[in-house]
């Protein structure tokens, strides 16, 4: 079977047994060797192993060792690859190709291109790429305006709420003031017109007074630049200020104060007498005025709010920690007490055992006396280094024995020339012990 006949068959099959990289079709090898159907199989067969290898590598295929058995196959492969390159170049010459664009994206489109068998011209692919990029740009440009508008609207709403809250209470109060219709003392001139005018004047005075007081209170709260002593402004000062601004007589001011006293509503102005605890009933008693709604700047309010919040949080956590600490302490105490009790009972058991053994030994005539000194028992049970530590336990055990143990009797005897307290086992030995 000569390779020459085999060659067209392999080309017709398509694929040629190995993937050719895309770029190879646009950058054919710049070798002097002619490429095309004119190359004979004989020429290829004359190549040495090294040259054959180089040719295959130049076409992008990586061959294994070229041995006697593999040579024929590789020669066939070389022919096949060359035919493919030639076919591609011929097809490539039909449509203009721009090498600049395609190397940028060989991997992404390569599967589809291989399938189509280079029928779709490179230009169409390029157009789609351009469209993709433009679409992306348009999308990107379109989004910021929409999101910008949204944030702007939200910001406006937020600012609106903030301003309303800031100005809010004082503004509402003023509106309420204006709509009040309480009777006012007239100047003994006319009725309706006078009343209305008087009311207007007094409203004006009150308005000015309110503003002044709230500003002063606000200043006092926020940094106190004028070094005021308190939020409460002297009556005389307030009167002077209001009279200066409104240009009305001091009597109007006092009428306004009277009006405040008589009204039941909360106008935001507190009248304080000399004695701060007693409520003021007459205009003459009024000593100083204070605003209930100090006017503070946004930063000041914010600062105060933050400080208040932090203080509250702090207090909350502190109280929580304190309670927790108390709980832990109580648990610790309870546990300590339990342990002490246990230690005491242990000691009591040991003492009973010692005293009983001593008695048994006395019965067997190994001991001289039936009783044993309390201190001797203590010194035999507790080692010297822990005597101080176990003192409390020991004493509790001794008390327990004295009150609760009927088999052991506490007596006072003369032992070794010294009077000391002793324990004597009184139970006869044939009665069984509750322990065993």
């Amino acid at each position: 079977m000569s390779p020459a006949f085999a060659l067209p068959k392999m080309v017709a099959r398509g694929g040629c047994g190995g993937p050719l990289p895309r770029w190879r079709l646009h950058f054919p090898t710049g070798r002097a060797l002619p490429v095309g159907p004119g190359v004979s199989a004989a020429a290829m067969a004359e190549l040495t192993d090294a040259e054959l290898r180089k040719e295959l590598i130049a076409l992008g295929y990586r061959p294994g060792p070229i041995t006697a058995t593999t040579r024929k196959v590789y020669v066939k492969k070389l022919g096949c690859l060359r035919a493919e390159v030639a076919a591609a170049r011929r097809r490539g010459r039909g449509a203009p190709s721009s090498p600049a664009r395609t190397p940028a994206r060989p991997q992404q489109a390569s599967p589809s291109r291989q399938r189509s068998g280079f029928t779709s011209p490179v230009g169409a692919a390029r157009d789609s790429e351009e469209e993709d990029e433009e679409d992306e740009e348009d999308e990107e440009g379109g989004q910021p305006p929409a999101s910008r508008w949204g944030t702007f609207v939200l910001l406006l709403i937020f600012l609106g709420i903030l301003t309303v809250k800031m100005i809010g209470s004082g503004w509402l109060d003023r509106r309420e003031d204006n709509f009040n219709l309480l009777p006012v003392d007239c100047d003994k001139r006319t009725d309706d017109f006078c009343q209305a005018k008087q009311k207007d004047v007094i409203m004006n005075v009150l308005h000015e007074l309110y503003k002044y007081l709230s500003v002063q209170a606000g200043n006092f709260e926020c940094g106190n630049p004028e070094n005021l002593k308190s939020k409460c402004i002297w009556v005389s000062e307030a009167k002077d200020h209001v009279v200066n601004i409104t240009g009305s007589s001091p009597q109007k001011f006092e009428a306004a104060l009277h009006w405040i006293l008589n009204s039941n509503k909360d106008l935001g102005i507190w009248l304080k007498g000399r004695d701060l605890s007693e409520p003021v009933t007459k205009v003459e008693e009024v000593f100083c005025l204070e605003s209930a709604h100090p006017q503070m700047g946004l930063g000041c309010r914010f600062r105060r709010a933050v400080v208040t919040a932090i203080m509250n949080l702090f207090l909350f956590f502190w109280s929580l920690i304190t309670l927790w600490g108390i709980l832990i302490f109580l648990r610790y105490r309870w546990r300590k007490m339990e342990e002490e009790e246990q230690a005491m009972y242990e000691m009591v058991k040991k003492i009973i055992a010692v005293v009983q053994d001593h008695y048994k030994e006395w019965e067997r005539n190994l001991e001289r006396y039936p009783y044993v000194g309390i201190f001797h028992v203590r010194d035999s049970l507790i080692p010297p280094q822990s005597r101080k530590k176990m003192k409390r336990v020991w004493e509790r055990a001794v008390d327990f024995l004295a009150s609760n143990e009927s088999r052991i009797q506490t007596e006072s005897h003369r032992v070794a020339g010294e009077d000391m307290l002793v324990w004597r086992w009184t139970q006869p030995s044939y009665v069984s012990d509750s322990e065993h």
Binding site: G17, G64, P65, T69, T70, V73, K77
Partner: protein, 90 residues
């Protein structure tokens, strides 16, 4: 599983050791004899050829066709069998 023959499954199940070339999937008596004449008497020699061709199935099939005249199906079976064996044991 149904696409592979029993011969294929038997070959791929264990290391080939000294198995004769006739145990390869796709290689029957006739092809086996031809291969043995050329010197490929054991399966591992054919494996060697497959590896020398860098495990390129297409090339191996081409070579098999050249060497013993295997048809498309036989060469496909043999190449697939060797590839799977390599995946499992190499």
């Amino acid at each position: 599983m149904s696409s592979t023959s029993q011969k294929h499954r038997d070959f791929v199940a264990e290391p080939m050791g000294e198995k004769p070339v006739g145990t390869l999937a796709g290689i029957g008596d006739v092809l086996g004899k031809k291969l043995e004449e050329k010197g490929f008497d054991k399966a591992y020699v054919v494996l060697g050829q497959f590896l020398v061709l860098r495990k390129d199935e297409e090339l191996f099939r081409e070579w098999l066709k050249e060497t013993c005249g295997a048809n498309a199906k036989q060469s496909r079976d043999c190449a697939g069998c060797l590839r799977e064996w390599c995946d499992a044991f190499l």
